[in-house]
Symmetry: C2
Subunit: 420 residues, 2 copies
DNA sequence: ATGATTTTGTCTATTATTATACATAATAGC
DNA sequence: GCTATTATGTATAATAATAGACAAAATCAT
């Protein structure tokens, strides 16, 4: 039965956020799955779902799923519902994209960039690039669901700020969310690039695993770790810093961080490039190293193998500590085929107890475009379609950007009061 | 308004499981806190709470909390509601206890034990010891809330089994929950001792931290890790095995695991005892080492300091990887005062980037009795009073041990069907 | 085609929960 | 003692959600 007035219709929609979240996250793609997962009665599910379909937020896909009886109709979020804007800030370029809510790439652009530009100018340029992408793709992208930024530095995720000294000079403890939110009226998420690469691999390829350790071996070395389906970021967003774990050895190399004998100084792209230059080759960064490996230059292959064993040494420690079920090795140097991987495997199987390696998979990340950028899109979508995010989203859709404080019940008010 | 029949009263109780859980876990200790945290209306909270109070499951504490106005009355679980049985299986003894639901020790016993006895005999002896404790403490302990077992071996927590070869020969992949559940009609939880020590320190002393790394330095060395308030156990329960991380060095010592240069072989109680014996002292285990340290024997102090630096080397790696906010050092060797700790701190601050150590606390665990045993009690209580556990508990109380499947609604039935 | 099977929608009466308002209670600070 | 403040209980009417039953729809295996 239809509600008495427009406000009632809105209420029906905002109550439907749990249903919406289940569909949008893929936790329940059919009506009967919704019944199971939501815990609500059939009548309630039908009513809420109808509200979502009437508002054109949810639609039925063409395909159905076989069930043994009548096939289940598959429910999907209307892709027109909105879009996501993401940026990957690199040390020498900005990579921007507009994504659909799958998330999938719709349009992208690359800007030349110097990390020295500093936060304000950078964020302004990103905002400009975003507007251009929005204009290019016409006006049929729906509302802006959220913004995601990938940074090559430790990030305090909750506060959305770079923490500590890093490549991003001048960004330490500078507010990023505020300025971006001034440009666009949507939630802004900021995270470290390695974390986002980890997130993307996990959500796209290895969603079934409980935990995953991602090791990025590029010009630098870093790791991301998802425990129990949740990104682990550490106390200050500084987790995963395996590149600066030190090993004793004779004549330890000097690291760019100023310490002696770091993993990076032994095995990162810049370190291998350094060693190749010492041997008379031309190599500045990880890409150059891989180019030489692809040409099957023996010295390059040898150095990559050696890097694998160094990284394997740290990885073995990590495996003993965390006992992960899956280790994914990505980054530019991972494109050099199995040379890197075999070194890692060698050390892990040599050093760890059998129990920890019994069912451990160590694999190369599938080569793909800008994983950090895709990860930023995934981060925004995960947040947007989470139960809380879905509630916010439906509120935004129902009431524009008006705060949802009005007309709350006593208990809801209490909740708001305390939360504030 | 009272329901029409007895069954209705039971329904009121089982519906109250969310309220019960909030009180029992300490998430909400007053009526107004319940209003906030539950999201329910005042009327509903009052009604459900009254049902719990009428059933004598919840009571009001004598003390009140100041609020600025009328003080809030503090609600607590009736300690008579039930008890917990826990056992810590050591290599040379069994330590059993009956605990109240705080949890707090009510009665305990220690049995001589050889780990070679094997699972069946051991579990039977534990069951016997439990019955004796129940008899000793009279019949006013309420129902048995659950059983917790602490084992000195890697445990697959979900399956409740020892995994892999370990000190517990003959236990690998042997069902523990089944046999115990044959003796007692209550949920059985099994975990590794270091994990339980970690849990206890976290829940009792550092509940406010998001994450905690616990390092146990006793006869052996191990670590436990809580991320985001949740125990991290790894893919097969083998996480925290930092004792067998290897370091290269000249003349690496042989470890009892068969590898060379493990942390344990350099810094564990048995290794220090070995070195002390080589120097002519009498020392067999960690206790002996601490005894010598307490007598201020210079050689013992020197070796303990050295052990601290070795452990600090691993700890530095862990800090780089995880960026924990708090590291607690416990175990027998931690009772030797700051000698151990200073070595750990030295290496961590030397090797880690400032960002990771900026607000890092490294402290000694407060000396206390059998922490693993207390942790086992905490584990049972945490599970018992969790939302799901509370629902089960109230069902058990209302209907004896009858399965709660009868009289379910359509949606509840669906849930059960799929879950089965 | 037929029957078994599963999905999906809807009706009716009943039950659970909320909103709202009012009243009382218990403290601290003045 | 008075007042501000917060805690707590309850009555009433209205709303939301459920249970339980039925029926139609859409497939598969035979």
């Amino acid at each position: 039965m239809p509600p008495r007035d427009g406000a009632g219709e809105n209420a029906a929609l905002t109550n439907a956020s749990d249903i919406f979240s289940l569909i949008a996250t893929g936790a329940a793609v059919s009506r009967s799955a919704l019944l199971d997962r939501s815990g609500l009665s059939r009548v309630t599910v039908t009513q809420r779902l109808n509200a979502l379909i009437a508002a054109d937020l949810i639609g039925e896909a063409a395909r159905t799923l076989p069930s043994g009886g009548r096939p289940t109709r598959v429910l999907t979020v209307n892709p027109q519902i909105g879009h996501v804007l993401v940026a990957n800030i690199g040390e020498s370029h900005l990579h921007l994209a507009l994504m659909s809510p799958e998330p999938a790439m719709v349009a992208q652009s690359t800007l030349r960039y110097e990390v020295a530009e500093g936060p304000t100018a950078t964020l302004d340029r990103i905002a400009g690039g975003f507007r251009q992408l929005q204009a290019e793709t016409g006006g049929d992208n729906g509302i802006l669901l959220g913004i995601g930024l990938s940074l090559p530095a430790p990030v305090d995720y909750k506060r959305g700020r770079v923490v500590g000294p890093s490549v991003m000079r001048g960004w330490d403890n500078v507010d990023i969310i505020g300025p971006m939110a001034n440009h666009f009226d949507a939630p802004v998420y900021v995270d470290n690039d390695v974390n986002l690469m980890t997130l993307y691999e996990y959500r796209r390829h290895f969603q079934l695993a409980d935990d995953i350790l991602y090791i990025k071996v590029g010009t630098g070395i870093g790791a991301g770790f998802i425990a129990d389906g949740k990104m682990f970021r550490g106390a200050h967003g500084a987790s995963g810093d395996i590149g600066h774990i030190q090993f004793d050895s004779d004549d330890p190399p000097l690291c760019r961080c100023g310490k002696l004998g770091c993993v990076e100084a032994r095995a990162a792209g810049w370190a291998i490039a350094r060693d190749l230059r010492a041997l008379g080759f031309k190599a500045e960064n990880a890409r150059d190293v891989i180019a030489l490996v692809d040409e099957q230059v023996p010295e390059a292959v040898m150095l990559l193998r050696k890097a694998g064993r160094v990284i394997g040494e740290v990885t073995a420690d990590v495996v003993s500590l965390l006992n992960p079920g899956l280790i994914v090795v990505g980054g530019t140097l991972a494109r050099g085929g199995d040379f890197l991987l075999s070194g890692i495997r060698e050390l892990v199987y040599q050093r760890c107890l059998p129990l920890a390696t019994r069912e451990l998979n160590i694999i190369l990340a599938p080569p793909q475009g800008d994983i950090a950028l895709l990860g930023a899109g995934q981060l925004v979508i995960d947040n947007t379609f989470s139960p809380a995010g879905s509630a916010d989203l439906l509120n935004r859709i129902v009431a524009g950007a008006a705060p949802p404080t009005t007309g709350r019940s006593e208990s809801a008010k209490r909740r708001m009061d305390r939360a504030g």
